[in-house]
Structures are given as structure tokens and as C-alpha cells.
Symmetry: C2
């Protein structure tokens, strides 16, 4: 299937990401339906014009009517849904997702999937520190990165289709990585940084310091406001990589501590000069 505007899109899971996808696709002229757990969510989304139709159960009409299905579920729930409901999918349907970890998802889903539908995984690297369809907003895609993570089982057509989806949603940069490369990258750039922000907030009762806080500390801890159900699942599903990244960081911070303890000004300065030089690569 191509991205022609008479396609029917089904979004499974209508939280912050599912809702943001729905808003963008509906604005682009697609017919968008959604499955959500709570009836209030479906009612709200229809009432606000975020979706055209919705259901709290896998309504065969919606599932079988969809040319493309976008899964915006927690990883465990996602696998169960596919196992239990894939028989309802339209032959030839294209499936994609928004899951923040890939190795533990992509191979299992592709392994169990019917041969007449295709799953091509993607990770839209966008988000907010709030959740729920009420907070959904497709402007979060603007300027953000979108990663497609194909395997050997994927067709070139599916990869192109998935990249096109990222483009029409408004992402700035579309990349292709293997599930392994993705999980390594996300372990460092996203999961480790969330661990750091959490530990900064929990290592001491620092509430009395709020009065003296500058932008640096606020910036570093913005992501300390965290959806504990989702992130604990994502951490555990990328456990080996995240442990490796945490060990690398803790070791380096320990090395900086030793330079400080030894009063080694030149050693500290060398680290700071390396840090300054590397950070330049990350300026937008």
C-alpha cells in the first residue's frame, strides 16, 4: 500500500503518541479509527475530532477495514494483541509501531505474524513529560527524529512505506538502523539520561533547594518527571544495553571524581576540553 489519502488507518492504543499520530493523519485527510482501553478515551477522541471512529474492543469492522495499523501500546500488551487478534487483520495490511525498544519486539512479532501482512518497526523519537490522548499534539514531531528498524524479513517496499509515514507526519530526520543499533543508541541517548535525571532527584531530599535552582538543573531534571509504568518496562526490555551504558557512565564519573580527589587540575581540564569539543557535534 502507498500513502494515498483514501487509506483507512487504525491506531491501536490511544495515549499521547497514538493520539498525536491520529491528529496528524486526520489532518492529512486519512480516515482514522482507533482502539482504546477506556470508553471515555474513545468518546473524547471522537468528540474532539481526533479520530473518525473507535472501539474499546477489537471491532472486526475497524480492524479488517484498516489498510495500515499503527501500534502505540506498551511492549508487552503489543505482543499479546498481535497474538490474539491478528486473525482479524486485512490481507496485505501494513503494520508499524512506536515502541521505544526494538530487539525484544521486532523479531517476536515478525516470527508470530501471518505471512500475508507485514510488520515494519519504527521509533518516533518524540514525546512529552505528560501522557494521555488529552495531551496529544502532533507538533511534537516537528524537528524530531524518526528511526525505521527493519530486519531481513522486511521488504524494501515496507521500509519505504514506513519512511514515508515519518515524512508525512512531519519528522525532521528519517533514519534506518538495525534493531540492535537502535537499542544501543536509545540505551545511551534516552534511557541512561532518564536514569541520571531520576537519580539526581532521588539521591537526596533536595526540595529546599528549589529556590536557588537555575536553568541547568531544571534542564537536567525535566525528564525526571517520568511515566513509571512505561519507562520501567522499557528499561527492563533493554536491560543488557542499559546496564552496559550505566556502567560506562558510572565508571567515567568515578574517574572524574578521582581527578578531583587527587587535586589534578590539568586532568579535570583535559576532560572538560574533550567534553566541550564533543558537545559541538550535538549543536542543532
Amino acid at each position: 500500500m502507498k500513502w494515498i489519502s483514501d487509506s483507512n488507518i487504525l491506531i491501536v492504543g490511544l495515549g499521547l503518541m497514538g493520539g498525536s499520530y491520529a491528529r496528524a493523519l486526520k489532518r492529512l485527510g486519512y480516515r482514522v479509527s482507533a482502539l482504546a482501553r477506556r470508553p471515555e478515551t474513545v468518546e473524547y477522541a471522537i468528540g474532539q475530532g481526533i479520530i473518525d471512529a473507535g472501539s474499546t474492543f477489537p471491532d472486526p469492522e475497524l480492524v479488517c477495514g484498516a489498510d495500515a495499523v499503527i501500534f502505540a501500546l506498551y511492549p508487552g500488551v503489543f505482543k499479546n494483541w498481535v497474538r490474539d487478534n491478528q486473525y482479524l487483520l486485512k490481507p496485505g495490511a501494513m503494520l508499524t509501531d512506536v515502541t521505544g525498544v526494538k530487539r525484544c519486539i521486532v523479531y517476536d512479532i515478525q516470527e508470530m505474524l501471518r505471512p500475508d501482512v507485514e510488520f515494519i518497526a519504527a521509533h518516533p523519537m518524540a514525546g512529552r513529560e505528560v501522557s494521555g490522548v488529552e495531551n496529544s499534539d502532533d507538533r511534537i514531531f516537528q524537528g524530531a527524529n524518526y528511526i525505521v528498524t527493519p530486519t531481513e524479513k522486511n521488504t524494501p517496499e515496507a521500509v519505504e512505506w514506513c519512511k514515508s509515514l515519518g515524512r508525512i507526519l512531519g519528522f525532521r530526520r528519517i533514519s534506518v538502523l538495525s534493531p540492535e543499533e537502535h537499542d544501543q543508541m536509545i540505551g545511551f541517548l534516552s534511557q541512561l539520561t532518564h536514569c541520571i535525571a531520576v537519580a539526581l532527584m532521588t539521591c537526596t531530599d533536595n526540595r529546599h533547594l528549589a529556590d536557588y535552582t537555575g536553568d541547568s538543573f531544571r534542564d537536567l531534571t525535566r525528564i525526571a518527571r517520568i511515566n513509571d509504568a512505561m519507562w520501567s518496562e522499557l528499561f527492563l526490555l533493554n536491560q543488557d544495553e542499559l546496564l552496559r551504558q550505566m556502567d560506562g557512565f558510572i565508571g567515567e564519573l568515578g574517574a572524574l571524581r578521582e581527578l578531583l580527589a587527587a587535586g589534578d587540575a590539568e586532568g579535570l581540564r583535559e576532560k572538560m576540553r574533550l567534553s566541550t569539543a564533543r558537545r559541538a557535534y550535538f549543536d542543532k
Copy 2:
């Protein structure tokens, strides 16, 4: 002395902070002069209307003519300047500073100072990731915090004078802390966070990840672009506190690592809920 607009203000050290003080005070109608190391700095600042007069040496006319002197120097240089040049100060002059560490500065300066002048220390918690008078900008004070750190040797009048200085410069919140409280607070909120940002950039050659970087990582590492000469000096002058803060943080991150290694989802979620609750206190 009060903040009456015919006062003469001398700024010693014309970098980012000294230049920003000069701009603000000149705009408020004060006569502002400055001492800088390099003749180009003095020329530039006079040419741009940032100061009225300047010199590369402790010109007796400028020093003795100043009702107030603001020191915007690196800590070590600051002490030497006072030791060598205090004989030039006008009797009754009020002295203050912008130094980012306090215990190691305040007591030594007050100990060596002439009895007919008074030094009241302050820390304007504002800055940028760039340095030099060319980058000075007094808008950095808006919304920022300003801490006065008096000792038993200070008069109530000097404390009030120093608080007024923070107010007229445009700082949002003016606080009073002891030098010990200040150094503890700054060890956690500022120095530890800079160590974390530096270690994140130096722990691995991550330049190839720039393409996938989202705002979280950029926010966390913005301060990894760091003036190595200044920050290594500040770190070493607050060595005991910073080591204590680093140990607390490394220990807590290690605890989070153990929860992850043990697959303890509920333990991870508990940390995340505490982190989320505490972070709410830091919202502006």
C-alpha cells in the same frame, strides 16, 4: 553607601559577568569604570559604551574614585588583587563579588581587608556557555537567582546594600545563605550537574549519535560546553562538598543499576514515582 545614581562603580575583571554587570549599571545611570587584563577588552568596552573608563592596571584614580567595587575575577586572582591593591581603595568603599564558591574566598578576604572598607560576598546565579565581554548581556539576570553570603563580620547595612544591588540588576529572587550553605547548594545544583554533563560526553565517543539526538540529551549536555580554566578552579575550591555530592549521586545511580540488574520493576517504579513527585517542586 546607598544605591544613589551619582555613585562611581569599579568593576575588576571584564569578562562575561563583569561586562554584564557593567551594561546593567551603566543603563541605570551609574558611572562605571573597569579594570581588565587586555587593552583590547578595555577598548572594546569603551567603544561599545559598556563602560565609561577603563585601565589594564590598578589605576589609582579609578580605584580610589570608586564608591563600590565589584570583583568579577577567578577566585585565586581575586585574593591576590585584594592583597596587592587594597591600599588604593577609597575609605568607606563597599566591595562585592560574583565568585561561584564562597567558603574559600569570603573568610580570607575579610581577614586580610583594611578595617575601613567592607566586603560583602554575593553569587549571581546566571551565566552562559560562552565567555568574554563580547558575549556579556545583562538580560541573563532576568529570572535568575542572586545569593548574598554574609558572615558575622558584615554589617546589616552591607547586606541590605548587596541585596539592593541584586534587585536593581534585575534578578528575580534575592536570598541570603551562609558561605557553608551556599557551597553545599552549589555543589549539588551546579557543580555536580556540570560533572554529569561532562562525563556523559566523555564516557564514550558518541559523535555518531548526533543524528539521533532528541531534546532530552541536548538539554542534559548543554552545560558540557564548559570553560575548563574557570570550572576546574571552582571544583577544586569546593572539593570536599563536590566529592560528597558526587558520592551521593554515584551511590544512588548504582542503586538504580542494581534494581535494573535484579529485574525489580516495582523497585524501579518506586524510584521513578519519588523522582516525579520531587521534580514538581522545581517547576517554575
